[in-house]
Symmetry: C2
Subunit: 103 residues, 2 copies
């Protein structure tokens, strides 16, 4: 697979992603517009987020931090989290098990 061959989809206004699924893993590659907001949500899938580029305000279990290039955040199963792009951002998320809502 090549990211250039995967069509980008706008999952939430301003949140554009390409998502690859395996048997136990999903990997999301996001391009986020400045100001885009991911409302608080939670899921049974474990998640890790990586900020490739940009400045992201991120709230996990009620605590808010700003993350920039190189950050890796562990989001345990069923932990409420939300985000806001303070600049245009490139992010990645990996999930296990597969994030079926994104299929």
């Amino acid at each position: 697979m090549h990211l250039n061959d995967i069509p980008s989809k706008e999952f939430i206004p301003g949140l554009h992603g390409k998502i690859v699924h395996g048997e136990r893993l999903s990997w999301a590659f996001w391009e986020v517009e400045k100001g885009a907001i991911v409302p608080e949500h939670q899921h049974h899938n474990e998640q890790m987020m990586h900020v490739v580029e940009g400045k992201l305000e991120f709230t996990l279990n009620g605590e808010t931090q700003v993350y920039t290039n190189g950050a890796v955040v562990h989001i345990p199963c069923n932990s409420p989290h939300a985000g806001k792009a303070l600049t245009p951002c490139r992010l990645m998320d990996v999930f296990s098990p597969v994030r079926n809502e994104y299929k």
Copy 2:
């Protein structure tokens, strides 16, 4: 966590990595020297590999291809695979379950 705060470790000559573990997921961030070789191996962990930058010769189940920036490769559980960096490479791997050998 921030990648700048994680010490890099040379797992195989020329293969330098920083690895983050969750409960079900491991995420490896690799810097690979030109010419470095990962000998054929396999594991029960499902794996996805992403070429961030560089040119990687990669053999999966006996089939060899060259991957460049933007490639995403799915490596099913217990599938023999090997790699050779044709240029300096930046790669990422995600695994599920956790890759305990890398802890």
